[in-house]
């Protein structure tokens, strides 16, 4: 097994929410006790619906939001308590690609300046010519021609802007690339281009990927392992093909069944199996297992005791469910 690049232990991110003028401040538990080891070179998918904490988790790894408690250990070094100045050199190895490709690019900078900026910050010794050649090389690598260097982001389509964002993130050859819904804003015919590009880049550069997405079809394409979150808690972790072929947690099963497939022989029956109910308010999550209010298999125990995120079958899989053994379909 390859080395652990990143470890999360008991990670919590709470946000204070003052919903009444003079009322007490309440805490929204966006991420609630996540344990995770990310291995060097893997692509790990973090999936779940809105409000499950997947983006907050990614931002906490980068310390863009500071965790309330728990630890983020990057290559053996705990990040909590580090100052911005102490974090800066580490950021060279930790890069991110955002969902909205145009909004994440400065409209007043040329494409060349945007992609060169991380080099200016992290490799100030590089001279102009060397910087330009690095930028040109990376632009070509992501499928853009070098003559885009002097143009501005608004001149490009969504897919091209996402390529520019990827070039900016990859220019420092980071050890970890966090992708936060990188294809969700793109047209269907463009999504595959970006998925294939990310796969090729990972093959060539060997970076580790944290792929945050609500799109389970895309995650199956790109990731080696998948972590399923619900209301800030970990529900299931498994190697991708095992998770899709045999989901153990009832939420994972419901989530997978809800993704539409373009086949009229299969899809109507999938709709019939849709999960019932809605996401509870994250400000007052259910007791015990947070998924129990939508779970067809919930029993009294599920309301009383939160299930541990425990090893299932073998050490490669984890699941947080009291009943996964009994309820598994034959």
């Amino acid at each position: 097994m390859s080395e652990t690049l990143l470890s999360l232990r008991g990670l919590r991110v709470w946000f204070p929410v003052g919903d009444r003028l003079f009322g007490p401040k309440r805490q929204l538990h966006a991420v609630e006790g996540v344990d995770l080891d990310v291995r060097a070179g893997e692509a790990l998918g973090i999936v779940g619906e809105s409000g499950c904490g997947k983006s907050t988790l990614a931002r906490a790894v980068l310390q863009l939001v500071r965790p309330t408690s728990g630890s983020v250990v990057w290559m053996g070094r705990p990040l909590e308590g580090m100052t911005a100045a102490e974090l800066r050199p580490l950021r060279r190895d930790l890069q991110i690609v955002f969902q909205d490709p145009l909004a994440s690019l400065d409209p007043r900078m040329t494409v060349g300046e945007i992609v060169a900026e991380p080099l200016r910050v992290h490799r100030p010794g590089l001279d102009r010519a060397a910087r330009r050649s690095e930028v040109a090389g990376m632009l070509e690598r992501v499928g853009l021609s070098v003559d885009v260097i002097n143009r501005y982001p608004h001149e490009f389509s969504g897919g091209q802007c996402q390529r520019i964002g990827i070039a900016r993130a990859m220019i420092l050859k980071p050890k970890l690339l966090i992708c936060d819904e990188p294809v969700s804003a793109l047209d269907v015919s463009i999504q595959a281009q970006i998925i294939n590009l990310l796969k090729d880049l990972q093959r060539d550069f060997g970076m580790t990927i944290l792929f945050v997405s609500h799109n389970l079809a895309v995650v199956r394409r790109l990731c080696d392992r998948v972590l399923v979150l619900y209301l800030g808690r970990t529900m299931e972790l498994a190697p991708t093909e095992q998770l899709y072929a045999r989901p153990l947690h009832p939420y994972t099963r419901g989530l997978l069944a809800a993704v539409p497939v373009p086949d009229p022989d299969i899809q109507p029956a999938r709709l019939g199996a849709a999960l019932e109910g809605e996401l509870p308010s994250p400000l007052s999550p259910p007791s015990g297992c947070v998924f129990r209010t939508r779970c067809a298999h919930a029993i009294a125990l599920c309301a009383d005791v939160a299930p541990a995120f425990a090893e299932a079958d073998d050490s490669a899989r984890r699941v947080a469910c009291h009943r996964w053994r009994e309820i598994e379909p034959a």
Binding site: D187, S189, N196, H214, R220, P260, P264, L271, L275
Partner: protein
């Protein structure tokens, strides 16, 4: 299903917009009929013209739009209708729901009143009877705790619940036809499945004609009977949901299916991306609008625009239609 007169008959509909940068031809020569109890899926990427065609039918286009052609609801021409005549049909015989329920519902009016409003206005229903009907409609669209919801405001409801309320508003007067424009795009996937299931149920139960506009071929697979695929402002393929999705004949439909990752399929099939990007409606390529991205394109495709021609399973607008299985 095809035996009776269609509910909606759209014939050679075109929509263009006058802009400071020139004319945009958003929809060209759009011909389509929808029958009672039938759901037509209209699929395309951004700028394909799928929403503009039906906004034209609803008389909801921006003021710089020019509409040509015809759209008849049970034989009655809709294009060119104005003011009161249009309002007698809209929300009564012909309803539309949109992607974002928050901006479509009025924020300062209780949910029950918004559903009752069209009943009172169009059918002269008493307010007590309209409230009772609103409650019945909320139950029909599976809003939990319906009685309490009647007096709530849209912001107090979840996104999925708001979309259900919007469907209840649209159904209040028992329309002949419901047009749903990306009704689940803003929703989480488990809620999307619930809303799609509801639409399928309403189509079966009420015998209503339905149009489901979406960018997602998976969404139409569960609900639609027929599918129209749009590209560059035109229908490029039209046929039963089975023939279009299982044996697509237009290279665009086929390429789209091959480029889509599927949740029920391991990663061993290569994902065949479509090169380039959807055309800008301001500068549509000559000939077939798909030719710059098409692997089958010939000289003819670059100069001569193919028309929609009926085939054994589907109608297709292509000089070189493909045959065989989707993969």
């Amino acid at each position: 299903m095809q035996s009776r007169e269609p509910i909606l008959e759209i014939d050679a509909l075109s929509v263009s917009f006058e802009t400071p940068d020139g004319v945009i031809n958003a929809v060209n020569d759009f011909t389509l009929s929808v029958h009672a109890g039938e759901c037509i899926g209209v699929v395309g990427e951004s700028g394909a013209g799928k929403s503009q065609s039906f906004l034209a039918v609803m008389g909801l286009l921006a003021s710089n739009a020019t509409v040509r052609g015809s759209a008849r609801l049970q034989g009655r021409e809709l294009i060119g209708l104005r003011g009161r005549e249009l309002n007698e049909l809209r929300g009564v015989k012909l309803s539309m729901i949109f992607q974002d329920p928050m901006t479509s519902l009025t924020p300062h009016i209780e949910v029950g009143e918004q559903i009752a409003e069209s009943l009172i206005r169009h059918h002269g229903t008493s307010s007590a009877a309209a409230r009772a009907r609103a409650l019945e409609l909320l139950r029909q669209v599976h809003v939990s705790d319906a009685e309490r919801r009647l007096d709530q405001y849209p912001h107090e409801l979840s996104g999925g619940m708001r979309q259900r309320v919007m469907i209840a508003v649209a159904l209040a007067c028992d329309p002949l036809m419901l047009i749903a424009d990306e009704p689940t795009t803003a929703l989480d996937v488990t809620i999307q499945a619930q809303i799609l299931q509801l639409l399928a149920e309403l189509k079966r139960g009420k015998g209503m004609a339905m149009t489901l506009i979406t960018h997602d071929l998976g969404v139409v697979a569960g609900v639609a009977d027929r599918v129209a695929v749009m590209y560059g402002g035109r229908i490029v393929e039209l046929g039963s949901v089975r023939s279009v999705l299982k044996a697509p004949r237009h290279p665009y439909t086929r390429a789209l299916l091959r480029s889509m990752p599927r949740v029920d399929e391991p990663a061993d099939r290569p994902l065949l991306a479509i090169t380039g990007q959807p055309p800008n409606p301001r500068r549509l390529p000559p000939g077939c609008a798909f030719h710059p991205r098409c692997e089958h394109a010939s000289a003819r495709c670059r100069s001569e625009r193919p028309t929609l021609v009926d085939g054994p399973h589907s109608a297709v607008a292509c000089h070189h239609p493909v045959e065989g299985d989707a993969r």
